[in-house]
């Protein structure tokens, strides 16, 4: 049963808070996109169009009905991209509307072949921002999972390309930064020096270079690091957060923000990153600083590296990553979602405002148990979702985007 493929639905504009109707508590209109090609009953919605932004669930390399997985990374990439295409089409968009993607591989050796197929869906004038990562595990033994955001108004999509030599040359079909309305999506950046093409040996040196590269992209767009609303930090360390890398990375990262102004953040220990880098950082920033701010639960202190709560730009809120207390995945997941609810409540929102969720598991085998809790919190019209396996001590971590 189709929720809506409603191209006919005229989304006029946000209803004012004064005219809330029935059980509908959303200020910004949204459409839940559930294409015919997908099997019903998923714990998440394949796509949510909220205002002009289309949040697309992580798409894996399997047939969405039969669950069959093609052989070879080329066909696998095609499958994931075609799945994403179903969502785009049902939302009245095409690949030219895609503004940013996370390409999540289980084997970075597939980088080149993935690139070829992935790139063929875009261009020649438009490539989204992109972050490519190798995760220690993906759901359903997928070899590839692609998570993207689309933007409805192509006239407000524009590319940000710093002057030649200011940042390292692109290693694949992506652009350094992409504007979608007032939001800037910056590609995952690593610590390669644009002049020497070398990667510093130390994690501190790499982090410094990475943040400078991001700074060059932001500067080209007329922004600074402090205009960021959300950041993903990825790093390599066999001991996860407990290893030495994370602290060293943070000791440099924090220097790019005045205390108390760091964006929301979610950081993950992975198995491999492109090329020889050992940290990669992805920024989302806004030019609408008049409507930007933060809400922080009082039990969170002032962190030099993270909002600790949520950063808002207009009606959209990005939470920091939260992991929960407890012995079981269910207990931890519930605690994480309650913490997220605390932050949402401060902004006058609740779980029904969540449009996109990222769930990071220590072990993707916990997927079913996680899903059961996820359904408790999102019984109807659940958000788009991407689930990934990362190297961490805790069993789960959750991060969400919510819209009024």
């Amino acid at each position: 049963m189709k929720r809506t493929s409603a191209a006919y639905l005229i989304i006029c504009l946000a209803l004012s808070a004064g005219t809330l109707l029935g059980e509908h508590h959303h200020k910004v209109e949204r459409q839940f996109i559930y294409p015919d090609e997908f099997a019903p009953g998923k714990a998440y919605t394949p796509g949510i169009l909220v205002g002009d932004y289309l949040y697309i669930s992580g798409q894996i390399d399997k047939d969405p009905k039969t669950g069959e997985q093609p052989e070879g990374i080329a066909d696998q990439t095609r499958m994931a991209m075609d799945n994403m295409g179903h969502v785009l089409r049902a939302a009245g968009m095409d690949f030219g509307n895609v503004v940013t993607c996370h390409v999540q591989l289980v084997d970075m050796d597939n980088y080149k072949d993935m690139n070829e197929v992935y790139g063929s869906y875009f261009g020649p004038d438009h490539f989204p921002a992109r972050t490519t990562l190798e995760f220690p595990g993906l759901p359903g033994n997928a070899n590839l999972e692609v998570t993207c955001i689309g933007y409805a108004d192509k006239s407000k999509i524009s590319l940000v390309v710093p002057p030649e030599g200011a940042i390292p040359a692109a290693m694949g079909p992506y652009r350094p930064g992409v504007w979608a309305g007032d939001m800037l999506y910056v590609s995952g950046s690593g610590g390669r020096n644009p002049k020497t093409n070398e990667t510093p040996a130390s994690i501190e040196g790499q982090t410094e270079q990475t943040m400078k590269t991001i700074g060059a992209i932001l500067e080209t767009a007329g922004l600074t690091h402090e205009d960021a609303v959300f950041v993903n930090v990825y790093f390599l360390d066999p001991d996860g957060y407990q290893g030495p890398t994370y602290g060293k990375l943070n000791s440099v990262y924090k220097n790019f923000f005045t205390i108390g102004s760091a964006p929301s953040r979610a950081s993950f220990c992975l198995s491999r990153l492109p090329g020889t880098i050992s940290t990669e950082i992805t920024f989302v920033a806004t030019r609408d600083t008049a409507s930007k701010g933060r809400v922080v639960p009082s039990y969170m202190g002032t962190s030099p590296t993270s909002s600790g709560g949520g950063v808002l730009a207009g009606d959209t809120l990005w939470t920091s990553g939260k992991s929960g207390k407890g012995d079981t995945i269910e207990e931890q997941m519930r605690d994480s979602l309650e913490k997220i609810r605390d932050t949402l409540n401060l902004a006058g929102m609740d779980m029904e405002h969540v449009v996109d969720a990222h769930v990071y598991l220590k072990d993707v085998a916990d997927m079913d148990k996680m899903n059961a809790v996820f359904k408790e919190y999102f019984p109807n019209n659940p958000p788009a979702r991407t689930t990934l396996q990362v190297t961490q001590k805790q069993l789960e971590q959750v991060q969400v985007v919510a819209v009024r």
């Binding site: 005229i10 006029c12 808070a17 005219t19 109707l21 059980e23 701010g293 202190g301 401060l346």
Partner: protein, 411 residues
């Protein structure tokens, strides 16, 4: 199957005419999460820019009541009769909200002459029959509206079974100088009386501002502890002090009590006199719902040890006092700039000016009151919040500050 709201919103959108026009406001006005009632007793002449009382959930916010007859504007001659007048005015609001004086949980008693303290006390105390006095803060301001000699601003709580006095052990805090309780619970919120720097053991007052501030906060800490709370539970605070130069001294001690970025919303004011011989008095409001407490910061706001722009306690948001001396020399420009700042903060919390239930406006010169009121009406065209207007001293580096506004908003 389409969710029903899509159909409904489509109809509304079509009815409103698509093309950028917002649907007309519904007759019943904004829909609030916490139910509220605007109390306008018949004893008050119509057309005030503020509402005499707003009941939001169980909390009744009462506008500052002056010592003038609400209809004839006549003021009785003595402080006793003046206090009776202000208390009776407040009584009308309580009555219309279905309450009486024993529902009152906290008051600010604002005098224009501290010499009237004793005379006011006798009358003020006589209105509370349960023996359970509200928390109280008594202050002398350099000016009150309409040349009133006393102005009383109170909060009442509908459910008497959830009103409870907090009394630290004998000798733990200075003995009360009048009819007030150290602190009063109203539901999950604790209202503390204004505290000064008297040492409870020696009954002495430190000659330095720093010493007084420290003793004041120690006294506050003792009361909070007796209620099972700590400074992290505080949501709103008003420090009052004498002498512009003492502000920095006060802050140098105050900041030691809060982690970076985690103090309460705050409004600090320089006054003309405080009770007894103290030169610092501090009033706190706290919550026991630490889990539902948080802070709101607009972009670019740096964390400090002394204040955040706004604190949220569940469905209630407490705002610091906002001045805007850079916006212009006139009170209108400054007041508008303060309100625009608060609009941003309200929006971050998912609220708007329609959520504001209580306001405190501090003017450098009460002659600015009509101009301030004009702008106030722009922001609150209907169902306005309660309001208390006071004159404070702005000197030294704050000389250009013509207004400050602090507010309470409820979802």
């Amino acid at each position: 199957m389409k969710p029903r709201w899509i159909v409904i919103s489509l109809l509304v959108v079509l009815a409103a005419g698509c093309g950028g026009q917002a649907p007309p406001p519904e007759a019943e006005g904004p829909s609030f999460k916490v139910k509220r009632q605007f109390i306008y007793p018949e004893e008050f002449p119509p057309g005030k820019p503020y509402t005499p009382g707003v009941l939001a959930g169980d909390y009744l916010y009462i506008a500052g009541q002056v010592s003038l007859d609400p209809q004839s504007r006549e003021q009785p001659a003595t402080i006793e009769d003046q206090t009776h007048m202000a208390m009776k005015n407040m009584g009308y609001v309580l009555r219309d909200a279905g309450m009486d004086y024993d529902n009152v949980v906290t008051c600010h008693v604002q005098l224009d002459d501290m010499d009237n303290y004793k005379g006011m006390n006798e009358v003020y105390g006589s209105y509370y029959t349960s023996g359970r006095y509200p928390a109280r803060t008594t202050l002398e301001f350099p000016g009150l509206p309409s040349d009133s000699h006393v102005e009383i601003t109170c909060v009442a709580y509908a459910d008497k079974s959830k009103i409870e006095v907090v009394r630290p052990g004998e000798g733990a805090t200075p003995a009360a100088m009048g009819p007030y309780s150290p602190a009063v619970w109203a539901g999950d919120r604790l209202y503390l009386s204004g505290q000064g720097g008297r040492n409870p053991q020696t009954n002495e007052i430190d000659p330095t501002t720093e010493g007084q501030t420290k003793q004041t906060l120690e006294n506050v800490g003792t009361i909070l502890k007796a209620a099972g709370l700590g400074f992290e539970n505080t949501v709103m605070v008003n420090p009052y002090y004498l002498g512009h130069d003492n502000y920095a001294k006060l802050n140098s001690v105050y900041r030691e009590y809060f982690d970076l970025g985690r103090p309460s919303a705050r409004g600090s004011f320089c006054l003309s006199r405080l009770p007894g011989t103290i030169s610092v008095e501090i009033t706190f409001t706290a919550t026991r719902n630490l889990q539902k407490k948080g802070r709101v910061l607009p972009h670019g706001r740096r964390p400090s040890h002394t204040a955040v722009p706004a604190t949220i306690d569940g469905n209630t948001m407490f705002f610091a006092a906002k001045s805007a001396p850079a916006a212009g020399d006139d009170v209108e420009s400054q007041f508008r700039a303060s309100m625009e700042h608060w609009r941003r903060v309200l929006k971050l919390a998912g609220m708007g000016f329609e959520n504001v239930v209580s306001t405190n406006v501090y003017l450098k010169d009460l002659d600015d009151m009509p101009k301030m009121t004009e702008v106030f009406r722009e922001y609150f065209p209907e169902s306005p919040p309660v309001r208390t207007t006071l004159q404070v001293i702005q000197e030294g580096s704050r000389e250009k500050v013509r207004q400050e506004i602090s507010m309470i908003a409820v979802r």
